[in-house]
């Protein structure tokens, strides 16, 4: 899918994490798609590469699930844009998904950080 040239150390998003990132971004307030993309990129210190096509499909998917809602509005520089905002359901999902993610990263961290054990066995 990634058609962009991948000449730096940015990494493609893991499956499923995009949803979580979108929800987290929208927690700060309503935002349009381009803003969400920028914000994710910026907040991850340009590590994450957001495929814009995937982003919009993900936005649509979240909207279908009623985790976020959207309406057309005007951006700060007077452009027409579609603004997304979190629904209460989306808020719940964010809390749940974030918890899951933390458990996952913690587990990953535990395994990866136990490098001593790994070396001993090898």
């Amino acid at each position: 899918m990634a058609t962009q040239e991948n000449n730096d150390d940015r990494i493609a998003l893991l499956q499923g994490t995009l949803d979580l990132l979108i929800l987290k971004t929208l927690l700060l307030g309503p935002c349009h798609g381009q803003g969400v993309a920028r914000m994710i990129q910026r907040q991850s210190e340009d590590v994450f590469l957001v495929d814009h096509g995937s982003l919009y499909v993900a936005l649509q998917r979240l909207e279908d699930r009623k985790w976020i809602r959207a309406k057309w509005g005007v951006s700060e520089n007077n452009r027409k844009a579609r603004f997304y905002s979190l629904t209460p359901k989306g808020r719940e999902q964010l809390a749940e998904k974030a918890g899951e993610w933390r458990r996952l990263t913690r587990a990953m961290g535990l395994i990866l950080d136990a490098s001593g054990g790994l070396g001993e066995e090898a």
């Binding site: 899918m1 990634a2 058609t3 962009q4 349009h32 798609g33 381009q34 803003g35 993309a37 920028r38 495929d51 814009h52 096509g53 995937s54 919009y56 499909v57 649509q60 998917r61 279908d64 951006s75 520089n77 452009r79 027409k80 844009a81 579609r82």
Partner: protein, 888 residues
């Protein structure tokens, strides 16, 4: 789900907005306008791909695929219109015939009486009537005192309901000026309430209406629709029944047409006690009407089991009441050696007469159309298999290109869905039409409109067909594995399918079923021919008959009416002769009883019947009917009340009771000896009640001499078209009484034909279905053979290239179908024999094992097989070896 929330345009607009926002931002970071825009676009990636993904996400993918499959299926069917048309028509015929016969069967045999809680309703039956009584039906009718006693003392039933027709056929009614005829019953006050029949308009009757003989009438929904165009204003209007004014007070629920099978009641009135409205339209007997004549068992009785009472309990409680009441007016107890009649209760869930009348023929028809359906389904399956085998390369290519088995299955099911839907829709229309025709031919007046049961039945058959058609060809389709596509030769890739043994077995079985249908159809058609050519013993050409039901205040006036009427009718131009009779021939009606011969009941050999069928007739009767008088004379105008009583008998009477004697001059009379007459004529045996009856002793009374006169039928022999005399006859009748319609006017031939109407219908349908089966089998065989020949084109080419002659090639193809035919006959004939044995009761003048019918059926099948193979064989013979080989 079917409606997408967002359009693709909206999504595109959002992406456009994104690109602009991004470009704005990039410009803010110092890029030129052009560069910013380019970079924004590059950063976004593939816009189309995103849109595509949105498109797939946004709609219900399954539906989308289904629509695509449907379009594809339609396209691929359109490419072979011959196949599609054949398959759809075959299905429509097979399923339509089944739906039609099933809806008749459903309406006639399966549907319950349209009353509330029909399971608790019972018909009352008696083992036999007591001696000394007259009955309408010896097991099903009761006297008024019996009904009255059961109603008051029979606590097992609540309520007890009686009903009795005003006539054996129709009665004269009048609404407005024009007299007409309609079918009416007199009923208990509890009739509607007890049966639980709703009255959408007006009210039913009450017990008071019954005891007061209130002049009220309730119309059937059907009659209200037919005659009164559903005018709600009929309530309160006057409706004359046999000249007696009745007030219309209600209309009964739609679908309720009485509790008798076969006919449909047009109106109901409470039980009446007046001469004009005696039960069955009979004249008073010894001055008594049905209510007071306790020896006339003429009423039908139905009851509802009292709450909490089982049928056995009810019967136990009713039995003594019945057995006592049965002898009211008969001295209170049975004669010596006579057993008391026994009451029984019969299911009243559905129409009682129907099963006896139509049960067997309908079940037989259902079996026949079932066979037709099997043949039809097998045909379509074979067509599909052939078609899909020919498409094996298409399937192989599609599989090679990555189509999953699931995709192929879905595609096949979709195609079958299209076929089945189209066939089903056509079948439904066809069935509606056929049902109406069936109803008309069988003279079933009950509504035959298909209901939910019928719809479910049809949908069930369709679903089965759909699955069958989808799954059967799948095997063939999947056998074409992807690598097959790599084989370039059409001949080799089709090789496996060409050997399909399943197809041959199916054709052989179809042929077997075809033999069964042809034999069955043949036997019934021959039965029909026998019935139609049976000599009646009278000349029915030029005979017309109609009934009149005059108001007869006294015997003398009644006789005078008929003398006047005959005088007027004979004077009409074109009338050769005219007479009257109590019962018209060919109507199933007859008056049967014992008669005294020379002062005593005749001796008969053990077990033989003494029954004599009698009729009351007017002058010139045998000349009018065209029955030869063998000895003595016909009745004449000179036979009057004042002259000596005279009677006429038939050959069978003379043979049975006056064997070896000259019958003229002997005395015969009623079984109680109260009326006697001298035999003055002997006539040839002729058909009386129906076409398919055996001769029975008969005797005729002179109407002017017996102490009773009522409604009569007029027989007229006229020149030219018999029916053209009717307007003049109607005028003549109405000169005597403007209230009188002509009752059931028709030619005597038509009248006789009503007695075989059912056999005629049955035979015609059987013939039709036999024919249909033949056509289907021919189509199937042709399809299979043509397909096999086309697959073997290359092989045939090779054979011919190495020296096979055309004759040998033709023989090779014909042999193929010959083997199938022989197999079909070998299986089919024994099956047909079994079926024919089951048909025995419906046959007339032809045996179940009639060799001729079997020979014809086998020959018919052979001809069909030959015709169906001729075209493919011809095609095989004309194969050009060079061209066939070049296609390799």
């Amino acid at each position: 789900m079917f409606r997408r929330k967002r359009t693709a345009e909206d999504f595109a607009a959002e992406i456009e907005a994104h690109l602009e926002l991004e470009a704005d931002e990039l410009r803010g970071e110092g890029l030129s306008a052009d560069e910013a825009q380019r970079k924004a676009r590059r950063e976004f990636g593939n816009v189309r791909a995103a849109q595509e993904r949105f498109y797939l996400r946004g709609r219900w993918v399954a539906l989308d695929k289904l629509l695509r499959d449907l379009r594809f299926g339609l396209r691929s069917l359109r490419q072979s219109p011959g196949f599609a048309a054949t398959a759809i028509l075959t299905l429509a015929l097979g399923i339509g015939a089944n739906t039609a016969v099933f809806s008749v069967m459903n309406a006639v045999l399966l549907r319950s009486l349209p009353v509330s809680d029909p399971d608790r309703l019972v018909y009352l039956r008696t083992s036999n009537p007591p001696r000394g009584t007259g009955t309408i039906d010896s097991n099903e009718t009761f006297s008024y005192p019996v009904y009255d006693a059961l109603r008051h003392e029979g606590r097992g039933l609540s309520p007890v309901i009686a009903y009795v027709p005003l006539s054996g056929s129709k009665v004269a009614v009048r609404y407005g000026a024009q007299p007409e005829e309609a079918e009416g019953d007199m009923v208990s006050g509890a009739f509607f309430s007890g049966l639980g029949v709703n009255l959408p308009l007006g009210r039913g009757f009450s017990d008071d209406d019954e005891s007061n003989h209130a002049p009220l009438a309730v119309l059937s929904y059907n009659y209200w629709t037919r005659r009164f165009a559903r005018d709600p204003a009929v309530l309160g209007k006057t409706f004359y029944v046999s000249g007696v004014p009745m007030t219309i007070v209600g209309v009964a629920a739609q679908g309720f047409e009485g509790v008798e099978g076969g006919g449909s009641t047009d109106f109901w009135i409470p039980l009446q006690n007046r001469r004009e409205l005696n039960a069955w339209g009979n004249p008073p007997q010894d001055g008594k009407l049905f209510m007071t004549d306790s020896t006339w068992w003429c009423m039908r009785v139905i009851g509802r089991l009292a709450p909490g009472v089982s049928r056995e309990q009810a019967l136990a409680q009713l039995q003594p009441v019945f057995q006592t009441a049965a002898y009211v007016g008969l001295g209170g107890s049975p004669m010596e050696g006579e057993k008391r009649p026994v009451l029984s209760l019969a299911d009243a869930k559905s129409f009682p007469g129907y099963d006896a009348m139509y049960g067997n023929p309908l079940r037989m028809l259902m079996a026949m159309v079932g066979l037709v359906l099997l043949i039809a389904l097998a045909n379509v399956v074979m067509l599909l298999m052939a078609r899909n085998a020919a498409r094996q390369r298409e399937f192989s290519v599609r599989q090679a290109l990555g189509a999953g088995r699931g995709e192929l299955l879905r595609q096949l099911l979709t195609e079958s869905l299209i076929l089945v839907t189209a066939g089903g829709a056509l079948a439904w229309g066809f069935a509606l039409m056929a049902t109406r025709l069936l109803g008309r031919w069988a003279q079933i007046e009950t509504s035959l409109a298909p209901d939910r049961t019928v719809l479910l039945f049809t949908l069930g058959v369709l679903a089965f067909a759909g699955l069958l058609f989808g799954l059967a060809p799948l095997r063939v389709a999947l056998k074409g594995r992807a690598e097959l596509a790599l084989k370039t030769s059409a001949a080799t890739s089709n090789m496996d399918a060409g050997k399909s043994r399943t197809g041959r077995i199916i054709v052989a079985l179809q042929m077997a079923m075809c033999v069964v249908l042809l034999v069955g159809g043949g036997l019934l058609v021959r039965t029909l021919r026998n019935l139609e050519t049976t000599p009646l013993g009278m000349n029915v050409d030029g005979l017309v008959v109609f009934g009149v039901k005059p108001n007869i205040p006294s015997l003398a006036e009644g006789r005078a009416f008929y003398v006047n009427l005959l005088g007027k009718l004979r004077a009409l131009p074109g009338v050769e002769s005219a007479t009257v009779m109590e019962e018209r021939p060919g109507s199933w009606w007859s008056d049967n009883g014992d008669m005294q011969v020379d002062g005593k009941l005749p001796d008969v050999a053990d077990g033989a019947s003494r029954t004599v069928r009698s009729n009351v007739v007017g002058p010139d009767v045998f000349r009018t009917l065209g029955v030869p008088v063998l000895a003595g004379r016909d009745f004449a105008d000179s036979d009057t009340a004042a002259s000596p009583h005279v009677g006429i008998i038939n050959e069978e009477f003379a043979k049975r009771f006056l064997s070896g004697l000259n019958p003229l001059g002997h005395t015969i009379g009623s079984d109680d000896g109260r009326y006697t007459m001298t035999i003055v004529g002997l006539v040839k045996n002729h058909r009386y009640r129906s076409i398919d009856e055996e001769p029975i002793p008969m005797a005729w009374y002179e109407y002017a001499q017996i102490p009773m006169v009522g409604s009569m039928h007029v027989e007229m022999r006229v020149h030219g078209d018999p029916l053209s005399i009717l307007p003049a006859a109607r005028k003549a009748v109405q000169q005597l009484d403007p209230n009188l319609p002509l009752i059931r006017p028709m030619t005597q031939r038509e009248q006789f034909e009503t007695t075989i109407a059912q056999q005629v219908l049955f035979a015609r349908l059987a013939g039709f279905f036999g024919f249909l089966a033949v056509v289907l089998v021919a189509t199937g065989l042709y399809g299979t053979l043509a397909y096999r020949v086309s697959l073997r084109t290359a092989e045939i080419g090779v054979r011919m290239a190495v020296g096979a002659r055309r004759g040998q090639v033709v023989w090779m193809i014909l042999k193929d179908s010959l083997v199938l035919t022989v197999a079909g006959v070998v299986i089919g004939v024994p099956l047909a024999m079994v079926v024919a044995r089951a048909l025995t009761s419906s046959l007339y003048g032809v045996k179940a094992l009639d060799g001729m019918s079997y020979a014809l059926a086998v020959m018919g099948l052979a001809v069909v097989a030959l015709v169906a193979s001729a075209v493919p064989a011809g095609r095989a013979a004309s194969v050009d070896p060079m061209r066939a080989l070049r296609t390799e």
